[in-house]
Symmetry: C2
Subunit: 87 residues, 2 copies
């Protein structure tokens, strides 16, 4: 399935969150990641983020799609990440 | 159609971008907006953001969906925005 992940972590935790998210998804913009992911890895990714989250401060949203058939993606301005981008 | 907007504007332009995005969509997290939008308003929203963007610095991504049938949304941690949230 296809996933878009957006998060907002306090700066004390954001580098940990970045490291976790990049294990599973592509970084596309500050705090935004996307990619194809298996159900098993999606469960792992959520669990790893839940391990570090402070639920009173941080925020995580996952949008998951069984198909990309009905989606379109338009980007303008600086292209900051993507599949071909190595940080 | 349903739109998810994520942006990354330089701090000199981010308040303008926020003001524009909130005319059309709901704010859900720092730099993340979503909502149902007409094709006409989608064109307007893009034009307004393109008016202020510095394409060498700023970044805007739109994910558009004709249907939400195949999508799921999971959120954890602090709920920062949403339809019921008035800034």
């Amino acid at each position: 399935m296809f996933v878009i992940l957006v998060y907002d972590f306090d700066k004390r935790r954001v580098s940990k969150a970045l490291k976790i998210a990049r294990k599973y998804l592509y970084w596309v913009q500050n705090s935004v990641f996307e990619g194809e992911i298996s159900e098993a890895n999606y469960v792992k990714l959520k669990a790893e983020l839940e391990d570090i989250i402070d639920p009173d401060v941080d925020s995580v949203i996952f949008y998951t799609f069984r198909t990309q058939k009905y989606s379109k993606r338009e980007e303008f301005g600086l292209k900051k990440g993507g599949e071909e981008f190595i940080l």
